[in-house]
Subunit: 174 residues, 2 copies
């Protein structure tokens, strides 16, 4: 009975561990984006941080780049090209001044994330399925709805300038 | 035996769940910062994202605000004041132009996180232990080493301007 008990403990532990992994990286939500057939990965807002960015100009936003477990491992270990199953999420928010900044620093110098802006984007690595676009599928969603085909045709052309880093602009911020 | 087996499964599942929680939020690393007696929480780089920010001026950095599970739950539910056990981490990196930005956008407009800069800071909520500073303990580390007492004396005075949000500058970025 002790052996059966131990086997059950191991099984239960594995089940919990696998359930946790699946929760973050395999379920999907809502409508499918055109061309690459990608849905919003469920739970992506809980993924770990890869890096942060600020776009000046007309985009004028603050960004966070998050990754699923495969992505985080690859970034940390410097694995290029990224392995199949990698998903990178790009979130963005309005670039807004922090009201208390001038009081805290003597001048307005702090800018923080405001409401969501410029949509949410995903890169999904599947070297066979997306062979013609460097192994990456791309998806852009505005307010949870996929952008149209025209938008999705621009993704790879832009990312090609980062070909030396497997078409990924961002580096891991330690 | 089935009942014992089920009890073991539940016990094992709870053990795994508790071990996972403890790993992220309760262990600490290295030297203790002065005044508030805070060490670097182990695994904080794996915490979930609260928000992002950019400091202009002499700080000139890009920031990420991460939180332990208690912090994330409180931010998402809008709980003020934050419950005891909340830990908020402020990471920062140099504000550097993305080399490929001009090529991708036709002008240099993308700025990304470079090497770590301006240290790592933590706010730890313990309403009894830190009663004289709004229930918050503060800690600042440069390259893993705590800053001196003089630095730590400035924390609460600055955060007081955000008293209406329980002394926390950042809001949750959805």
């Amino acid at each position: 009975m002790i052996r059966i008990g131990l086997a059950l403990i191991v099984t239960a532990a594995l089940t919990v561990a696998l359930a946790y992994t699946a929760l973050g990286s395999e379920q999907t939500d809502g409508d499918t984006a055109p061309i690459f057939g990608i849905k919003i990965p469920a739970g992506y807002r809980d993924w770990r941080l890869i890096s942060v960015a600020h776009e000046e100009g007309s985009l004028n936003d603050l960004r966070a780049i998050l990754g699923n477990d495969i992505a985080i491992k690859a970034f940390r270990e410097g694995t290029y090209p990224f392995p199949d199953g990698t998903i990178i999420a790009r979130l963005a928010w309005d670039y807004v001044p922090l009201a208390e900044s001038a009081q805290a620093f003597g001048q307005l110098q702090s800018f923080v994330a405001g409401p969501p802006k410029n949509g949410v984007q995903f890169m999904v690595k599947d070297s066979k399925k997306y062979a013609s676009t460097g192994g990456w599928g791309f998806a852009h969603f505005n307010d949870g709805k996929p952008a149209d085909e025209t938008v999705h045709k621009t993704c790879f052309a832009c990312h090609e300038v980062a070909k030396a880093r497997d078409f990924v602009f961002n580096r891991y911020a330690p």
